[in-house]
């Protein structure tokens, strides 16, 4: 199963699939790739799931590139927000378990794009807390390999 099939088979987001990086709106400029033709689509999870999971700590976006799924949270990257982002990740993982996207687990990674300056030292405990959770260290711009 690929990303497009998985989205189609997940009723919560079936109608939210968009071409390329379109679902990321103004944040699409924060994603770069040397192979844009290999972008398979994106979903604005936050907006799409707002009605059904109104008060949940919803994750922002999902996109697929070269058969890898990138779950992206656009969020201020300060020390006080580490716990907030991890709470969102935990919610995302719980939600994914009940979707067809769970079958793509082996190709998935979790990324934090900072809305502004990153103020977390790579040698601080916050950096290790993030690593332990599985979320990559925050970046201003995410390059898709």
């Amino acid at each position: 199963m690929n990303f497009l099939d998985a989205v189609h088979n997940t009723p919560d987001i079936t109608n939210c699939l968009q071409a390329g990086l379109k679902a990321l709106g103004r944040y699409s400029t924060r994603i770069t790739t040397s192979q844009p033709s290999l972008l398979e689509g994106s979903v604005d999870l936050d907006n799409c799931l707002k009605a059904k999971y109104q008060n949940a700590p919803r994750w922002d976006y999902a996109l697929s590139h070269k058969s890898s799924v990138y779950y992206i949270e656009v969020h201020p990257a300060s020390t006080s927000q580490v716990k907030v982002v991890i709470a969102k990740l935990n919610w995302l993982k719980g939600w994914l378990r009940h979707t067809a996207l769970v079958n793509l687990k082996g190709q998935s990674s979790y990324h934090w794009i900072s809305t502004d300056k990153v103020t977390i030292s790579k040698r601080s405990k916050y950096s290790r807390i993030l690593a332990k959770s599985g979320v990559k260290y925050p970046v201003r711009v995410l390059h898709l390999g």
Binding site: T79, K117, T119, S121, K125, R128, I129
Partner: protein
Amino acid sequence: MERISLTSLGQLTKVDINFGDITVLVGPQASGKSIFLQLVKLVLDHNHIIETLQRYGFDWMAEPDNFLTLYFGTGMGGIWNQDTQVQVDNTQFNFQNILSPQSTSQTESLFLIPAQRVMVLRNSWPRPFTDYETGDPYVVKLFSEHLRQLMEVEFTSSKGAIFPQVGRMDKNLQEIIERSIFDKAKVRLDTSGMRKRIILDIGEHQLPFMIWSAGQREFIPLLLGIYWLMPPSERAKRENIHWVVVEEPEMGLHPQAISTLLVTCLELVHRGYKLVISTHSPQILEMIWAIQTLAQTQATPTKLLEIFDLPKNEFFSAIADNILHHKSFKTYYFAHQEKGILTEDISTLDPESLNEAISDWGGLTTFSTKVSEIISEAIWTQL
């Protein structure tokens, strides 16, 4: 020996250490790590120590304080007081008894590479045991003597080559040391000036020890110590040596060189040595934390190789597999507290722990964490 606990030794109020295959000690300056490590050697090797001191003509005249001065160094004569108690596993260690040795084993089982290692080379050659002042620490004298014998007895057949050295260290390991520390230069024995000396051979020029980089000068005694632990031929380790202690292995080294040194340390553990390290380097705890986390998540050994940018070949894979699946790790914090210096087991190194000694690794990352918190607050309140 699996555990040493003690009360009231010098500035150490209460220490309780359970050893792993790798045990790391952290703590600020003058927190007693070095005294503790010397004590471990005294506990394990007291017969060998007494025999060695006597062989070199030292006499403590049956005075325990004199012996302590000879062993720990000047000013340490009163380190053992009436309240001092040392327990090794389930047995009380009686200091008075070791001064009248029975005819028991006199072999050495612990090899200690001291923090003062750069001092053991004078005029580009290791100093003999008797070259030191009476009040210099025994462990420095002994390390120096080991290196001298290595150079004068064991390296005689190496045609002047010191690094790389054939038959001791695996070629894979030599290659990464060459890349990160010597930049393709060779270390060799030079006898052209009618006196033996260690030089760095960079092709057109031969550089004497004193003008090497600080890191290279720090690394050479460490490398010689590692060579000593890797005997030639098929033997993986020195037969009687079971413990290796390295004080502050990171001294003077760039992080890339520290990584190489850590790989070398893992190879020593892979060979069967138990390793005890004291350190002020977060990089060493990063390695321990990474190994523990990879083991907990049942990650493949290749992940450990990726951390060190190592090739995924048979040699390094065997080390990574052994370390990840069969070795144990312990980390202790020597903390200044109201009652004196006490040790705390911080082995989980859990960044989420509410105990800052654990989450900030005995203070090694406290500064980075504080910088992140304050800069975060300053920047994000403006935005």
